[in-house]
Symmetry: C2
């Protein structure tokens, strides 16, 4: 019962499901934990299930064969991850790495049960459609960023986004980690951060970047 209460918070359409459908979803949900740095999913074959973040933070990224990475999007408490349940849909074929950026607790819903309920419930199918459309829009936005934005603008936007997520102007991130978010080389990040420092936008410390002027970063990010 308590379980259903909590799950209903993730699904705005929960009340439009039958009692039987609600029970099936709740019965197929388990709480799981993963420590910071842990990998939930590594490749195409994986089909963990539908991930609903309770607390912590996950990062979905694409990785090159050589181990370079680019962040696709973040999953915060309340967010649902479809890519971890790609076996739910025939046409969803991607290789996404799912990593815990913080100690994270999440609901894991069996993908086969979810698929079955979705097949008979128009509200759940339409809700899932909206989730998918949201992710598609984010990935499209990323394509635009990669293709048409210079790296200094992307770095400025990234630092502002991080400051928002962390609610802090001090970001404990190495240059290597920042490069892994933006899909570039560490040297490129180091060079740009030094330029940012020269312009009074940030101060660089060991393993951290301190934002001195959000305003200047915003102007650069455009």
């Amino acid at each position: 019962m308590e379980q259903e209460m909590e799950l209903s918070a993730y699904f705005p359409v929960w009340d439009q499901l039958s009692a039987r459908q609600q029970n099936r979803l709740a019965g197929a949900a388990r709480i799981r934990k993963v420590e910071q740095g842990g990998i939930l999913q590594e490749g195409r074959g994986d089909c963990l299930g539908l991930v609903l973040v309770r607390r912590g933070r996950l990062r979905a990224c694409s990785a090159s064969p050589e181990g370079r990475q680019i962040t696709l999007y973040r999953l915060l408490p309340g967010d649902i991850c479809l890519f971890s349940a790609s076996c739910m849909m025939r046409s969803l074929q991607t290789e996404i790495l799912l990593e815990a950026e913080r100690d994270t607790e999440f609901w894991l819903i069996n993908p086969e049960v979810y698929r079955q309920v979705m097949e008979e419930s128009a509200p759940l199918a339409n809700f899932t459609n909206e989730l998918m459309a949201g992710r598609l829009s984010e990935v499209m936005w990323l394509v635009e960023q990669i293709m048409w934005q210079s790296m200094d603008k992307r770095l400025a936007a990234f630092l502002l986004e991080e400051a928002g997520l962390e609610e802090s102007d001090t970001l404990t991130l190495t240059h290597e980690q920042i490069a892994g978010h933006l899909g570039t080389a560490r040297e490129v990040v180091t060079r740009m951060l030094k330029y940012f420092q020269g312009e009074g936008m940030v101060r660089l410390r060991r393993g951290a970047v301190e934002i001195l002027s959000r305003e200047k970063l915003r102007q650069l990010a455009g």
Copy 2:
């Protein structure tokens, strides 16, 4: 009646719709034509409707403010375009340019009617989900290509794909057009094509590229 017959070919779930739903969709569909080079949709605000390609070929691409382009995917006869009906879904927010690569004829379904039928029909909603998942997978694949593949491999793969689409080894494409598909500069394409020619993979002619060895291109594309 004939209209319904034809529409049913696009929707594998047609038989799972009620007669009323079938009538509503058929009644909201119109045949439209666009000439080669014509633009169906230019930006975020547009919401043309659901596009179902009857004959010809469309190209969906992302464009920079300066007019550079990259092809996201092609729409061939039998394909359905969701991006032209983004008002159907709250979360679908992208700026996609839709261009006719050939003289094209298509069904256009009113997006509001489609949304209403989808809201009450689980089969149609799930089918739309699969369409969306397919596009999402294609765009994810593109991100991987842009990020982790070198331009020579992408060019080789592009030439092979074109040869497949055209069913010909002679591609009437300018270097400028190829650059617009791959999201790069014309000079880069010219340089690489000359290298390909030196390796005996292609022969360059005015306004055309002739493929001499699909096998060598395949090896390069990997």
